[in-house]
Amino acid sequence: MNNLAFKERLLNFYRSRPIAVFVVLILIATAGIAVATILLVSIFERKQEARNPFFRVVELTAETEDPAVWGKNFPMQYDDYRRTVDQQRTRYGGSEAEPRTPSKADPRSVVAQSRIEEDPRLKTMWAGYAFAKDFREERGHAFMLDDQTYTERQQAAKQPGTCLHCHASIAVPYKKAGDGDLIKGFEKLNQLPFAEARKLVTHPVACIDCHDPVTMQLQISRPGFIEGMRALKAGEGVKDYDVNRDATRQEMRSFVCGQCHVEYYFKGPEKRLVYPWASGLKVEQILALYDAAQFKDWTHAETGAPVLKAQHPEFELWNQGIHARSGVACADCHMPYKRSGALKISDHHVRSPLLNINHACQTCHKWPESELKSRAEEIQGRAQNMRNLAMDALVEFIGDLKTARTGGAPEAQIATAQDFQRKAQFYLDFVEAENSSGFHAPQEALRILGESINFSRKGQLALKPATGAAK
């Protein structure tokens, strides 16, 4: 009965407004069509994305240097790569954009903050060396070529073409200069003055420096790394190691970064770039190699000590840490995988993992972002604190050594102290110049800083008049 009445009401409604009923039905059905079509198209697009990781619109060869050309085939990776212009601080690292008035000699309108103004103790450590003139916080990959070209260090000292090994996209220029031979081109450019070699390069690090243009496999293009790894492996008993032939894919995801983020020196008058790894990657093994070669970067202006400058040894320090030990590559944290639609790509916006905690850390560490950030900052804070103690110790020691030298202390005593200074400041700089504030290997970083303090204090003891040497 009730049912009949409902049917009756429906019919009555239809009788009074037949067109409205039709229109409502059509609207509902159309909405249904629209939703289904949207879904269909969305699913279709995702399926297409998953099917074609990239569309080849240009041919890439071993001569394709310009990353913009590669970017036509790999627009997502290229977009991320271009974002390395970002300047963003973390608590203990990262650069801040500082405006500057461009001049003819230096057209940069933005630079990073000056580290030697932030911490004038660095000027004491580097007295007599170009770094005491100008040293700024490192910026992203996009600035590597400009910042090297226009630093005041260029005026303070004559820089060789060797610098471009890592400050430019060099794979193609080396091959061109060497008539197809990478190593020959490398040797040729090393010996040119910086300004002349600079004319042969165009881009900061680009696609071809890490990727094979045909297979996109990772490849090593830096002769310094190829030779350095061969020496390291020879020291471990592996003969004729060829990194491009023998490294695994996961190793390559660190090695491509290790091409440049390393300690190095310019060997001999031909300024050959050498990675000092023949005895191993630890700070004492590297220093032993320098001692054996009687190598010094410069003579300290205040003490006359034959001292060394450590350069960003990220690869070496990372190798001593737990992440390396667990098989985690540089790219796992600095270029973590990310999803773009249905595609999984490496994030080519290379940056501090602390700016990308969800992708960089949470893939393995299931803790909230705030917790992971505070863990990392605690590690870095401890290293920073120890670094400051080591820096104070070194500056005090340099002051004492300077006084002793002008005061006419015995030659042997001064020589002993100078050697302690060489050790103390190389150890300190090894952590200071390293770009993770100790995070890449927390315990190793603190050990090195502890030893640096010990060298500084031993050096001060060595200067005491009564006892000749405190070994």
């Binding site: 037949p18 039709f22 059509i26 059905a29 289904a36 969305s42 699913i43 299931k366």
Partner: protein, 163 residues
């Protein structure tokens, strides 16, 4: 035969109502057709079954599927064994809920990555451990404080899909 008064009083179809009726039929038919095709194209039916490959249809779960293949549990448990509750209705209710919200998230591209398990789903999985291992963990569970549930996956995080 005597017809009902209501039916008798329906006006004969006019030209307009015929056209509208055809339009309604076309629209409904298209909606049903496109809907059915989309369902088929998106492998909709596969979601009703237990094949783990279906969970990676939309690519997000690919890593989890790859890891499951290498896990200790892959011979004894599929996705649904641990991620849906026991019983037909709870199971399909959970499937429907996941299906709707996962599709919404993936289609609109708005969700946190790496993906995280929701509180309700975590409880489902915790209970799933006990479906098989109850005898073993019974004695452990009696030790717990009464107001909390001991978590299996806090320590055994890698049994389903190791990192």
């Amino acid at each position: 035969m005597k017809t009902k008064p209501s039916e008798r009083s329906v006006k004969p179809p006019t030209r307009l109502t015929v056209i509208l009726a055809i339009a309604v039929a076309l629209a409904l038919g298209s909606a049903a057709g496109i809907g059915a095709y989309t369902f088929g194209y998106a492998k909709g039916a596969s979601y009703l079954g237990d094949n783990p490959a279906s969970c990676a249809n939309c690519h997000i779960m690919q890593d989890h599927l790859d890891a499951w293949v290498k896990s200790t549990h892959h011979a004894v448990a599929t996705c649904n064994d641990c991620h849906t509750p026991a019983g037909f209705i709870p199971k399909y209710f959970t499937k429907a809920e996941h299906g709707f919200f996962h599709s919404l998230a993936f289609t609109t591209d708005r969700f946190y990555e790496p993906i995280q398990i929701s509180e309700r789903s975590r409880r489902v999985t915790e209970n799933a451990c006990r479906k098989c291992h109850e005898d073993v963990v019974h004695d452990i569970e009696t030790l717990k404080p009464s107001d909390s549930q001991l978590s299996c996956i806090r320590c055994h995080a890698g049994v389903g899909h190791p990192k």
